[in-house]
């Protein structure tokens, strides 16, 4: 078991390195850097000026070196600008000697956001908290609903209940967030329909989330997941219900209720558990869309801002967080699968 965890961890770190490198490469392409230079010095500078600026600020060195610096495993660059010492880890004009040698993600220095004029680490931590609140409520709504629908539908395959619930879950899993969000706002928040039960934006929810301003975004994110997880649960449940050991239990005289509760449920939940965990990358999508749609300034919204404004450091920071979230959930899903499934656990 320990060995397995270790192997997973190594693969995970390798994946994280590869992914961050790809992001680093894509955000540090020459046209992007050129844009950075122009935003610093003005849009009308010549190509030669751009090149010299990039050279001075350490952008012209090999990609791998810069990646190492950003990661914090290679010493930061130093140089001087008009006699003032500058460097990756040096405050403008500060003493070169006293400055730390390494400063990268590993040292906790995530860079400076050009859009928000703040430390990337600080921005991400506040934004991530906001998204965390959103995700918490999404989970509270999504997981029990989805499992309940899936189990009720899969319990008696082909019944009317099954068909109704299955149609519902197919419909919601065919509705991306930008569609369900638009429909929900139009129905519940627009003056056209006039119900006006909820608010069409969630900006106020950042400070004081309540049912009125927060329910629509939560529902929007949850809806797609509900359909998807419910379908998985149903498939898994119907498969379990036709298994031979369920027949054994039935013919032992176990009542239908107990067949479902004691014999089927645990086996049927193994598959959906993995699905819920692997849903995270997709939920991240939903979060980005929903936060943009409802103007809820969380992590997803920040990511869009960073990408849209060529804020390289912030975008890198966001990617690191996103990648880590995805990988950690994958790890949990693997471990959880092993834990839930005695067939694998004890071997």
């Amino acid at each position: 078991m320990l060995k397995f965890l270790l192997r997973r961890l190594v693969t995970m770190i390798l994946t994280a390195l590869c992914l961050t490198f790809i992001v680093f490469y894509l955000t540090n392409l020459p046209p992007n850097l050129e844009k950075v230079a122009k935003s610093e010095l003005g849009a009308r500078i010549s190509d030669a000026e751009v090149a010299s600026w990039l050279d001075k600020y350490g952008y012209s060195r090999p990609l791998l070196v810069r990646y190492g610096e950003w990661l914090g495993v290679a010493p930061g660059w130093t140089g001087s600008d008009q006699g003032v010492s500058i460097g990756r880890c040096v405050k403008r004009g500060a003493d070169l000697e006293s400055a730390p040698k390494y400063c990268g993600v590993l040292q906790g220095s995530w860079g400076f956001s050009t859009v928000f004029k703040d430390n990337v680490g600080a921005i991400i931590s506040t934004r991530l908290t906001l998204t965390g609140i959103l995700m918490f409520w999404v989970m509270v709504l999504m997981v029990p609903t989805a499992l309940l629908i899936g189990i009720l539908a899969g319990m008696r395959e082909g019944s009317k209940l099954d068909r109704s619930l299955s149609t519902f879950s197919i419909a919601t899993s065919a509705t991306p967030e930008y569609v369900s969000g638009v429909i929900l706002i139009a129905v519940f928040a627009s003056s056209m329909v006039g119900l006006k039960w909820f608010k069409g934006t969630a900006t106020s929810a950042m400070d004081a989330p309540n049912f009125e301003n927060f329910f629509l975004p939560v529902l929007t994110v949850a809806l797609y997941g509900i359909g998807y997880i419910a379908r998985m649960t149903r498939a898994s449940m119907t498969e379990v219900m036709t298994a031979q050991y369920i027949r054994t239990a039935r013919l032992k005289g176990v009542s239908f209720r107990n067949v479902v509760m004691k014999h089927a449920l645990r086996n049927a939940l193994i598959a959906p558990f993995t699905v819920i965990m692997l849903q995270f990358p997709w939920l991240l999508n939903g979060v980005v869309i929903t936060e943009t749609l409802f103007n809820y300034k969380g992590f997803g919204w920040t990511l869009v801002q960073a990408a849209g404004n060529n804020d390289i450091q912030l975008l890198l920071g966001c990617s690191v967080v996103a990648v880590i979230v995805v990988l950690v959930t994958q790890l949990i899903s693997d471990v959880g699968y092993v834990f839930l499934n005695p067939r694998i656990r004890i071997s």
């Binding site: 078991m1 060995k3 397995f4 192997r7 082909g158 298994a243 031979q244 050991y245 027949r247 054994t248 239990a249 039935r250 013919l251 032992k252 005289g253 176990v254 009542s255 004691k262 014999h263 645990r266 086996n267 193994i270 839930l340 499934n341 005695p342 067939r343 694998i344 004890i346 071997s347």
Partner: protein, 694 residues
């Protein structure tokens, strides 16, 4: 819980009819089925797949699924009609009064629940006993089914047990509340022969101990003979003959029963002098049943205008104990007339050596922990010092249970794997280290294989003809497409399939027909050596004989060397010239069929012979039950591979068996045995199978 008193028959089924309903039509699965099980009696239900025997069992349990319905008749259990009971009443009876055991032990245990919980649940539901009491009972029953270390067993999950142990647990679960009726649906089909013998033995003993009546469903007549007092033969949804074992086996009064017995290899049958008689034709599909007698179209005694004119009912056979038959002509037929024997075949002359293996070894390296990977690797010795030779036109049977290395051996011979050490000589070529990609076409087409599972042997999305033509293309047969098509049609003739089958898809063929196509494909390139990996074990009894005969016939025609891999000793005895017995990668015995089937035996061969059920009342077998399970090839015992289960081990002085792999002992005339026993011990062995004089 009500266990009402009742002293009539335990189970009375009267004119039961069960149908399944699909969108298109009603499919009758069981028609007009009657039988009675008295207290303490064991009733066998025998028939080929699709005859409705499992449906009867599920009908008794009233568990026919959404589409199945009882459309007529009654099932009385201890005098109460099950067909009219409510769901609530049924639940009380299921598990407490009637219990059921199925074919796949692994599938019938809940993988996520501990064994103990699954056992304790039964008395807790039905008798409302406390947890502690239930645990005590579970412990008792697990001890009763002769499982080692019962307390540990109760704490384990099903996957931690071997197949045989799992089946014992399922039996224990069924016996938890001492039911009045036990239904066993092919309980040993998924197990190895020696394990099967032990489980059957257990069931018989426990049946007596608990006084349980049994309904034993099987396709194996031999097994029914060993376990039951009475039996009922089913064909295409109907009972065709029912009576006591003795009457039905020795004085059968239905042509199907007779044909069935003539098509299975019993001691005395011989491929040359007394060949099997296959039942012509095919089993009718439920919606294609003929009018009148269902067996009519395949029956030797069929009389048009009579047998197909009316529904035929069961009629009692005078003067015997509750012996009924569904045949109009049973009083007219001369039941003692010997079967018409097809022309006797000359024994084919055995030619020169075509294949020689010397000291062949095949080791695999596997990681010790498959899931978590990495770490130590273990060496699995799939084949150890395999030496033999096979001659032209000869049939060499390779016998053994799971894990004995027979499939690995086939893979190495075919070139799908290369040998670790030793030599394989095909004529004059060494091929042990040439993988199939580097073999020339002649070698590849010269060594071909017939596979076990007919439903898997043909590509489902290619026509039959196309698959044979592809083999011809690969083997470089025929110059043009037209040539190859012609040759393909000839091959269909060879395996006695209509030429129209060339354009059919595999799913339109029956199992036996698919197997014939597989044979045609193997012989497409004029194979010199054919490895037949249990070619008939997945087929129904009546089809087995025909496919076996076909193989023999082609062999005679082409002088092919046949390596016949099987675990079924009856069929091996019937068709092979020489036999090689394998256990855990070792050849433990090798000799001619007569040598292997007569003493002196290797102790394993002896046990194997005793374990195989034989459907003949005249046969007396010595009763040898092997304890324990077959060790895993991953973790073989030290010394002699068989020492953990050997009943002769005490005869060998010291701990020789546990420390040293026995040498190969030559007993003369090519008979060799791998055993430490002394010559005197060998001489003292008695024959396992004796046929009483007629």
């Amino acid at each position: 819980m009500t266990k009402w008193d009742y002293d009539g028959p335990i189970l009375e089924i009267d004119n039961l009819s069960i149908s399944f309903f699909t969108r298109l039509r009603e499919i009758p699965a069981v028609m007009d089925f009657s039988c009675t099980v008295q207290p303490g009696e064991a009733m066998g239900l025998v028939g080929e797949s699709g005859c409705g025997k499992s449906t009867v069992a599920l009908g008794v349990m009233r568990d026919l699924g959404k589409n199945g319905r009882i459309v007529g008749g009654s099932i009385k259990f201890k005098g109460r009609d099950l067909t009219t009971m409510t769901e609530e009443e049924l639940r009380e009876i299921r598990g407490s009064q009637i219990a059921m055991i199925y074919q796949e032990p692994m599938a019938s245990l809940n993988p996520a629940m501990k064994i103990g919980q699954q056992l304790m649940e039964v008395p807790m539901i039905h008798e409302g006993v406390s947890k502690a009491e239930a645990y005590k009972r579970a412990l008792e029953v697990v001890t009763d089914v002769r499982l080692p270390d019962p307390e540990r067993m109760l704490k384990s999950y099903p996957h931690q047990l071997s197949g045989g142990q799992q089946q014992r647990i399922v039996i224990a679960m069924a016996l938890m509340t001492k039911p009045a009726l036990l239904i066993l649906d092919e309980p040993t089909t998924a197990l190895d022969v020696t394990v099967e013998a032990a489980v059957v033995d257990l069931v018989k003993d426990l049946g007596k101990k608990y006084g349980t009546s049994m309904l034993f469903i099987s396709h194996n007549l031999g097994l029914v003979l060993e376990t039951c007092n009475r039996l009922c033969v089913m064909y295409s949804g109907e009972a065709v003959e029912t009576g006591s074992i003795k009457d039905v086996f020795d004085k059968m009064r239905h042509p199907y029963t007779q044909a069935l017995f003539r098509s299975i290899p019993l001691p005395g049958a011989d491929k040359n002098s007394r060949p099997l008689v296959a039942i012509p034709g095919n089993f009718p599909l439920p919606h294609e049943r003929p009018p009148g007698c269902n067996f009519g179209p395949r029956c030797d005694y069929f009389e048009a205008g009579r047998c197909d004119a009316q529904e035929i009912t069961m009629a009692p056979v005078e003067g015997q104990d509750r012996h009924d038959t569904r045949c109009l002509k049973f009083t007219e037929i001369d039941w003692n007339a010997p079967p018409e024997v097809a022309a006797k075949q000359e024994k084919t002359a055995v030619g020169e050596v075509v294949l020689r293996m010397e000291d062949l070894r095949k080791y695999y390296e596997v990681s010790a922990n498959a899931l978590f990977g990495g770490g130590d690797t273990k060496v699995v010795k799939a084949n150890e010092t395999l030496s033999f030779e096979a001659r032209e036109g000869e049939t060499l049977a390779i016998v053994g249970e799971s894990g004995c290395g027979k499939s690995t051996f086939a893979k190495v011979l075919m070139g799908l794997e290369t040998a670790t050490a030793g030599t394989i000589m095909l004529y004059d070529n060494e091929i042990q280290s040439t993988p199939i990609e580097s073999r020339n076409t002649e070698t590849v087409s010269g060594v071909q294989m017939v596979f076990q599972n007919p439903f898997d042997t043909l590509n489902p999305s290619m026509t039959v003809g196309r698959q044979i033509i592809r083999a011809l293309e690969i083997f470089g047969e025929g110059k043009t497409d037209a040539d190859r098509r012609e040759r393909m049609l000839e091959l269909l003739d060879l395996v006695k399939l209509p030429r129209a089958f060339a354009d059919r898809m595999p799913r339109q063929l029956s199992g036996g027909q698919k197997q014939r196509v597989g044979i045609a494909r193997a012989f497409a390139g004029g194979a010199k050596i054919v490895v037949a990996d249990e070619p008939v074990s997945a087929l129904d009894v009546s089809v087995q004989a025909a496919v076996t005969d076909l193989l023999m016939e082609i062999q005679r025609k082409n002088k092919t060397t046949l390596l016949f891999i099987s675990h079924d000793l009856s069929i091996v005895r019937y068709l092979s010239d020489r036999v090689m017995v394998m256990y855990l990668g070792h050849v433990v015995e090798l000799g001619t069929t007569d040598q292997v089937f007569a003493p002196p035996y290797h102790p394993y061969t002896e046990a194997l012979l005793s374990a195989v059920p034989i459907a003949d009342t005249r046969v007396k077998k010595k009763h040898i039950v092997l304890e324990g399970e077959i060790p895993s090839a991953m973790n073989p015992p030290p010394g002699c591979p068989f020492q953990t289960r050997c009943r002769w081990k005490s005869k060998v002085p010291g701990n020789l068996c546990e420390t040293e792999v026995p040498p190969v002992r030559r007993l003369g005339n090519g008979h060799q045995v791998k055993c430490h026993l002394s010559d005197a011990d060998f001489a003292s062995m008695e024959p396992v199978i004796e046929v009483a004089a007629e």
